[in-house]
């Protein structure tokens, strides 16, 4: 290879995606006259096999040593073309992409403007590619273990898959038991499988799996490092119960002075628990936990003449002196499966959720209808005066979904079907009930969903198209004020109970996870995937993957599928045992570095240190970069007084020519 750049430039038509607004032939013709451009061609789809073959052939036959592809965003196909040029023996970093699709043809309408801009972008790429340097990627070992944050069905499924493949899994869950939202559900649509019956075996598998370490009632506090080599710090909160001694017998909870006086989170506030509790009977681990916010001993330092739980515990497991424990370990990949919050129905005051006890949410309905729920599965509600078995029931859909007034424009994807399921369950329990469902649209898109919806309608559940404007009280009844928009009839339907099909929202505390892992949010505020179509489980942070509703609302089958996808992706570095370190790291010209240390102070990764070197008998300090820690952001370079520290591929002498090419004559 000669040192003199011989550039091959390829302008992609992308069907008509680019060529409709950019005259690709004119761009290629223009590029032909740019310095060092040896060949400039156009092709319909550069990313296709023949498109890549075109580049390879030219490298071979024309002795090209630099390649520019003017096509879609480098975020799309930079890797594809790097691989292609590498296969022909060229250094993969001798490639530059000119983004003439996402940032040119797709955003401009005028052919003249589009073509002129594309020419500039191509000239800028030519200016840069001439000055690029060959880079060598280095490989380091990957830790054959994974961290999974959140142990709902997504985290559980991913943990089981990775553990079954033979890798160590740390499954971290903030609440005392794994199981998540699915454990709260009664039946699952459309098969009416009992939720607990299909979930609990998986929970037990997690607990007994030799490769899975459960860290329940715990929180990830620190994440350091990079793909393949993350160091994790987890805080295991004090349960005030020695889990090695606790047998889960439950005598403590029965004895507790606050028994049946504390609102149960698991029962969505409808049931009661003790200050020492197990969230639900099938909890994993089947161990008790003392709630430090309510326990008399922990809040006041005194519990009658002595804590009753301690007295009742035959195993001697109660320990009020227990402290939080910090656990540290290393993993190669991380899966985020932190789930969702349900929409807070009090944000739609017109539905009276805060005022009327017989207006409940879908999640509360799950607990009410469940045989393990607060009423043992009997449908009973308090209408403000007395407890009744509701005979007229209204379901309102899209509460907190598809509603710009509360900031949620998205569809929550589960409410249509859980409403249909709950209507069916109510029909079974109260055969003579009058059940009405008020909807905007019915979205029964999944396998078996339309059939199930059809079945429920035939079970004499009335679907009324209309978005209720108000719910108010009239005598003992609640009135649903709505317009049936199919018949243009204003209605005031009197009912005994209203179920609000609340939507799914991002976790209120997701910010903590975002900061921990450098994740971003998409427009709907859920975690953002690396690409909405092609990298749906990846994130912008290498080695961090998403599963389940933390990425967007999903039903159980989609959650499980995504969890399996995330598990497979996370296992790529674990199975290969190697990860490639970013080659575009900062480098120091020690001959000009003065050792001022400004770069050291701004580096967010502590990747730079000052070292003493001996120069002609003089000891002096210069900056040195730890390439394994450097992420290539280039902040160091902006503070360097002598331009000595530079990120490779984004050096001053590579960017300044780009600026000159974009400035130039107007």
């Amino acid at each position: 290879m000669t040192d003199k750049p011989r550039i091959g430039l390829y302008v992609c038509h992308c069907g008509i995606n680019i060529s409709a607004t950019v005259d690709v032939d004119a761009v290629a013709k223009y590029a032909q006259n740019l310095p060092n451009v040896h060949v400039a061609r156009t092709y319909s789809y550069m990313c296709s096999e023949p498109g890549q073959a075109l580049i390879k052939k030219d490298i071979r036959e024309q002795g090209l040593n630099r390649v520019i592809v003017a096509s879609c965003s480098p975020r799309m196909h930079e890797k594809t073309f790097r691989k292609a040029v590498q296969e022909e023996g060229l250094n993969p970093y001798f490639l530059e992409i000119a983004n003439i699709r996402e940032q040119c043809s797709w955003v401009h309408e005028d052919m003249t403007e589009g073509t002129a801009k594309a020419k500039k972008l191509v000239a800028s790429a030519v200016a840069k590619v001439r000055l690029l340097e060959p880079l060598e990627s280095t490989e380091v070992d990957a830790e054959p273990a994974a961290l999974i944050i959140g142990a709902g069905i997504a985290g559980i499924q991913a943990a089981l898959d990775i553990a079954d493949a033979g890798f160590k899994v740390y499954l971290v869950e903030k609440s005392p038991s794994i199981g998540g939202r699915m454990a709260q559900l009664d039946k699952t649509f459309p098969t009416l499988d009992c939720s607990a019956c299909i979930l609990t075996p998986k929970m037990v598998d997690c607990a007994s799996h030799p490769n899975i370490e459960l860290l329940t009632y715990a929180k990830v506090e620190e994440v350091d490092g990079f793909v393949g080599n993350f160091t994790i710090k987890v805080r295991k909160k004090a349960r005030y119960v020695d889990v090695d001694k606790c047998t889960g017998c439950g005598e403590c909870a029965k004895a507790c002075r606050l028994a049946n006086r504390i609102t149960s989170e698991f029962d969505e506030g409808m049931g009661k628990r003790s200050a020492i509790y197990m969230p639900f009977p099938q909890a994993v681990p089947a161990k008790y936990t003392i709630d430090p916010e309510n326990c008399l001993m922990l809040t006041r330092g005194k519990c009658g003449k002595g804590p009753k739980c301690e007295e009742a515990c035959q195993a001697g497991a109660i320990n009020f002196e227990q402290q939080d424990e910090i656990v540290e370990f290393k993993v190669g990949a991380i899966i985020v499966a932190t789930g969702f919050d349900t929409f807070d129905a009090s944000r739609k005051p017109e539905y009276g959720y805060s005022n009327y006890p017989n207006v409940i949410t879908g999640m509360e309905m799950e607990r009410l209808v469940s045989s393990s729920g607060p009423t043992g599965g009997d449908i009973k509600v308090f209408n403000g005066e007395e407890e009744i078995v509701p005979k007229e029931i209204a379901f309102i859909k899209c509460v907190g979904s598809r509603d710009a007034s509360v900031g949620n424009e998205y569809c929550s994807r589960v409410c249509c079907m859980y409403t249909a399921k709950q209507a069916h369950l109510l029909r079974e329990k109260i055969p003579d009930a009058k059940i009405r469902v008020y909807y905007i649209d019915v979205r029964a898109f999944g396998k078996g969903y339309e059939e199930f919806y059809d079945r429920v309608r035939r079970e004499n559940v009335r679907y009324i198209r209309g978005n209720p404007s108000e719910i108010f009280k009239r005598g003992k009844k609640l009135v649903v004020k709505v317009e049936d928009t199919l018949t243009a009839t204003p209605l005031e339907d009197e009912v005994d109970m209203v179920v609000l099909a609340v939507g799914l929202e991002p976790r209120a505390d997701m910010r903590e996870v975002m900061d921990l892992l450098r994740l971003s949010q998409s427009g709907d505020k859920f975690f953002m995937e690396a690409h909405p179509k092609l990298r749906p489980v990846d994130t912008a942070t290498d080695g961090v993957f998403l599963a389940g509703c933390c990425q967007g609302p999903k039903d159980i089958p989609d959650t499980v599928a995504q969890a399996k996808g995330a598990a497979a992706s996370a296992m790529v570095p674990l199975a290969s045992g190697k990860v490639t370190i970013n080659a575009q790291v900062a480098t120091v010209n020690e001959a000009t570095c003065r050792g001022c240390g400004y770069c050291v102070s701004v580096c967010p990764y502590s990747a730079i240190e000052l070292v003493t070197v001996n120069r002609f008998g003089h000891e002096l300090e210069v900056a040195r970069v730890n390439e394994a820690l450097c992420k290539g952001c280039g902040s160091c370079s902006s503070v360097c007084l002598s331009d000595s520290i530079q990120p490779k591929s984004f050096r001053d002498r590579q960017i300044l020519p780009q600026i000159a090419a974009l400035g130039g004559t107007r």
Partner: protein, 143 residues
Amino acid sequence: MSEDFEPNIVAFLCNWCSYAGADLAGTSRIHYPANIKVIRVMCSGRVNPLYVMNALQQGADGVLVSGCHPGDCHYMEGNYYARRRLGIFKDLLEFVGVDPRRFHMSWVSASEGHKWKEVVEKTVEDVRAAGPFEGFRRRQIDW
């Protein structure tokens, strides 16, 4: 200043947020003026004030720097450095007689295609109002 003056604007976008946001604007076919030409850098913290200076010297009428929202930097704090450094630099530009409308900074996340359009439109409008930039003598550099 002539009505049909089309300003030439060089933009420096961080790879993770603003560049991705600009890509999203493309994928969503959100149209905006073609005056903006983008140089991708890994982080807004990489943008040396001299780049802004250099762009103005090399024939740009305006410069835009856009990064992740404060607090959301992919590299944790690069955009904070950019905000400080370029904020001061903007004052300096004004001090030496450069119309401050020529230099813009913004925060555009990877999901804000619409915001990117608004930022571009505002920048183009401001630079157009400021007129062609002839303040610095251009030096032609052969790289």
